[in-house]
């Protein structure tokens, strides 16, 4: 795992801990980081089957995209998201 990924994962674990302790307004960004290895290793029918010969899941395992905090809306929408 790359250093940057480790740092991001650590940051998320810290955020999760803060959220669990009620130190954040919402647990919205909390992430079950501890579960990640088990999920990607165990993978279930998804990852295990779709990984093609020679596929290396390490990039997937370390991928933790950053995301904004989403709140409930309260006004007329500017745009709509739906499948396209």
């Amino acid at each position: 795992m790359r250093t940057a990924d480790r740092a991001r994962r650590a940051a998320r674990a810290l955020t999760a801990a803060l959220a669990a302790a009620g130190l954040l307004g919402t647990a919205g960004v909390a992430v079950a980081a501890a579960n990640q290895d088990a999920l990607t290793a165990g993978a279930g029918p998804g990852t295990a089957a779709q990984a093609q010969d020679g596929d290396d899941d390490s990039a997937e395992e370390g991928w933790l995209p950053s995301a904004p905090q989403i709140f409930g809306g309260f006004a007329a929408p500017h745009a709509q998201t739906g499948g396209s």
Partner: protein, 303 residues
């Protein structure tokens, strides 16, 4: 099919593009004409670089089985697609183009739907993204492999257009290409208000997206057609070369870039029952709608 039920206003421009609708919203409505010029030019460039349906698009010419030098734009689009494939262990795979062709989606959907009859060819798995080699500006697509960058290129274009408009015109901007929404610049005080709804009969809600954020929805109900008596949709499982089973009607994900949001929403659809765990492990704000109309929320506000 997403039904855009939002009205056009003085601060928004709406027009058809790529079989869906584009929507451009600015915090400075007076800049809309200038912004529209920028966006139109960028979308045209992306289409000519990577359209599956334009016979003379750059990507069509690059599918030659030999090393081909490609433009910086196509290089970035292909690199984005390959990175998405790597990050999802191949769930989002750009080599599904041939699968879609064999299923009958080999031209603009409007033309697909207008055909009298579509005969499905033999269904086989996608060749796999690792068969595509990108080395700087040198692209090698094996003979017979057809690329479809649709899952990432539209999202990339939304990101690109939003940042382009914000940087050039110094205003807040939202760019929506179908279900792919990107924002940039200083947004409205309480965030961009986004209606989350795929089909008219689906439960709807409005969320507030902070400026700089992005959101994307992938759906098994959109872009559907019938071939050999079976109804297909456009999200293909690369492992089998067929549309993913309809465990979910739609999945909406938020991220800091639309490419990340779309990559996750598409990969989650492919993962089916594993989608919730996969998204949760990434801390992804997501809203999943199953076939029975039940909504699952992850790091997502209650309705």
């Amino acid at each position: 099919m997403m039904v855009d039920r939002l009205p056009t206003s003085d601060s928004a421009s709406v027009w058809p593009v790529w079989g869906t609708s584009a929507r451009l919203v600015l915090t400075e409505p007076g800049l809309l004409p200038a912004a529209r010029v920028l966006v139109d030019k960028e979308l045209s460039a992306v289409e000519h670089a990577c359209s599956r349906f334009l016979p003379d698009s750059e990507i069509r010419r690059a599918e030659a089985g030999v090393v081909v030098r490609i433009s910086p734009l196509l290089r970035e689009l292909v690199a984005t697609a390959l990175l998405a494939a790597e990050r999802t262990a191949g769930a989002v795979d750009p080599t599904v183009g041939g699968c879609l062709d064999r299923l009958g989606y080999d031209r603009d959907l409007r033309l697909v739907l207008a055909r009298d009859r579509i005969v499905t060819a033999e269904i086989v798995p996608a060749p796999g993204w690792r068969s595509v080699q990108l080395d700087g500006d040198r692209l090698t697509v094996p003979s017979g492999v057809r690329l479809d960058l649709g899952a990432t290129a539209k999202a990339w274009a939304a990101d690109r257009c939003a940042h382009l408009v914000a940087d050039r015109l110094h205003c807040g901007v939202l760019v929506a290409l179908g279900g792919d929404i990107a924002t940039a610049g200083g947004g409205p005080l309480h965030g961009w208000q986004v209606l989350v709804q795929d089909m008219p009969e689906d439960p709807a809600e409005v969320v507030s997206l902070p400026s700089g954020g992005a959101v994307a929805t992938s759906s098994t109900r959109s872009r559907r057609w019938t071939a050999d008596g079976a109804t297909h949709h456009h999200v293909v499982d690369p492992r089998v070369g067929q549309p993913v089973p309809g465990h979910w009607r739609s999945i909406t994900v938020a991220a800091d870039t639309c490419v990340d949001a779309n990559t996750m929403s598409t990969a989650a659809l492919v993962r089916g029952a594993m989608a919730v765990d996969w998204l949760r492990a990434r801390g992804a704000p997501a809203r999943l709608l199953d076939q029975d109309g039940r909504v699952t929320r992850l790091y997502w506000p209650a309705a």
